[in-house]
């Protein structure tokens, strides 16, 4: 009984915290997974914006969702070929 008490007050984290964290992640993932066209649209939009400032290799770029223990991140990877010269407007 002492053991149980000890466990309760020290090491054991409530399982509901784990449940909540796992839920929050899976919901983000579900939504990203569901819609492939959203990701493609997003990629095209990002390319359009970056292309205003940099010349990029459009074939080499990749858009990924990375998942760590605490956060998930949208990672956009592209080689920059050249910085565009800003024109005075």
């Amino acid at each position: 009984m002492f053991n149980a008490l000890f466990k309760r007050f020290t090491s054991q984290k409530p399982s509901k915290n784990t449940a909540k964290k796992r839920l929050q992640f899976s919901l983000i993932y579900d939504k990203l997974e569901v819609n492939d066209t959203t990701l493609t649209d997003l990629q095209n939009d990002i390319v359009a914006v970056i292309s205003k400032y940099f010349e990029i290799d459009k074939d080499a770029l990749e858009l990924k969702v990375k998942r760590d223990d605490d956060v998930s991140a949208l990672v956009f990877n592209t080689p920059i070929l050249q910085v565009k010269r800003k024109r005075a407007s």
Partner: protein, 265 residues
């Protein structure tokens, strides 16, 4: 004046959708409204047994949609609660027998005859679910505090939003002692994950099984905590939006009364 069509749905099965539909419908009737409960789970009807009306079925919702009978012929009047009617599902047909257009037309007809039309949706997000939501003006999502139910609820909420329905949430089968021990998601956790408006909190209650055993309305049992919670949900739906949501607690009501008297929380 036209009534409201409210769909009760959950995504996942077995979270208490049918009990919730029957109880909310019965409670609205006790508030003096004219209520039709419609079982949209074609091929797997259950509302009739839960409500104790299984022996009185003549026609069903499929007959109504296909024009084989009038609404008044299919609606079974509950003899215990005034102004409460059930339109049962068909047990022999397939879900594909109904077309969304047909259901929508009947839903609009029902609105003219009843203050509230409560649609009990089947589990899942396929054809049967789509048919259940097609004529709805409002939506209630039921979930329990477990990961699979909350995840499915989120999916359903997404679909309802895409149909311009803004659902409200009922968290069912809350076990306060387990919430306190950190073994169960609290309603705050569920709300934070789903971020929608809360309609009510229903505690785990042994009376639910017992009342379905006998086919008697849960909301007529005064000592049922779940029944009490559903009656409050119905009052909130029925215009009493300011009625506070009671948070299930595991203290006995005696202790609650004592602590209230002494000003403890």
């Amino acid at each position: 004046m036209e009534g409201k069509v409210i769909v009760v749905t959950s995504g996942k099965g077995g979270v208490g959708k049918t009990t919730a539909t029957a109880s909310i419908g019965a409670a609205l009737a006790l508030e003096g409204k004219r209520v039709a409960i419609v079982d949209m789970d074609i091929g797997l009807r259950n509302l009739d047994v839960v409500m104790g009306l299984e022996n009185r079925i003549v026609f069903n919702i499929v007959d109504v949609v296909l024009g084989k009978c009038k609404i008044s012929q299919a609606a079974i009047r509950d003899r215990r609660i005034e102004n409460l009617f059930l339109i049962p599902a068909s047990q022999s047909d397939n879900k594909d027998v109904l077309s969304p257009a047909g259901v929508e037309r009947v839903a609009n007809d029902l609105r003219k005859e009843f203050d509230y039309v409560i649609m009990d949706s089947p589990a899942g997000i396929e054809r049967g679910f789509q048919n259940a939501i097609v004529g709805a003006n409002e939506a209630i999502v039921i979930c329990t505090p477990d990961v699979s139910s909350v995840r499915d609820a989120d999916r359903v909420i997404g679909i309802l939003y895409s149909r311009s329905l803004t659902p409200k949430l009922v968290v069912n089968r809350i076990e306060p002692s387990r919430v306190e021990r950190g073994e169960m998601l609290s309603y705050e956790d569920v709300l934070e994950v789903l971020s929608i408006e809360l309609l009510g909190l229903v505690p785990m209650d042994e009376h639910v099984l017992i009342s379905s055993n006998t086919g008697t309305p849960l909301v007529l049992q005064n000592d049922s905590k779940a029944g009490h919670a559903f009656r409050r949900i119905a009052r909130r739906l029925n215009g009493e939006a300011d009625l506070p949501i009671e948070i299930p607690s595991h203290r006995s009501s005696m202790w609650k009364k004592i602590s209230k008297t002494f000003g403890f929380k």
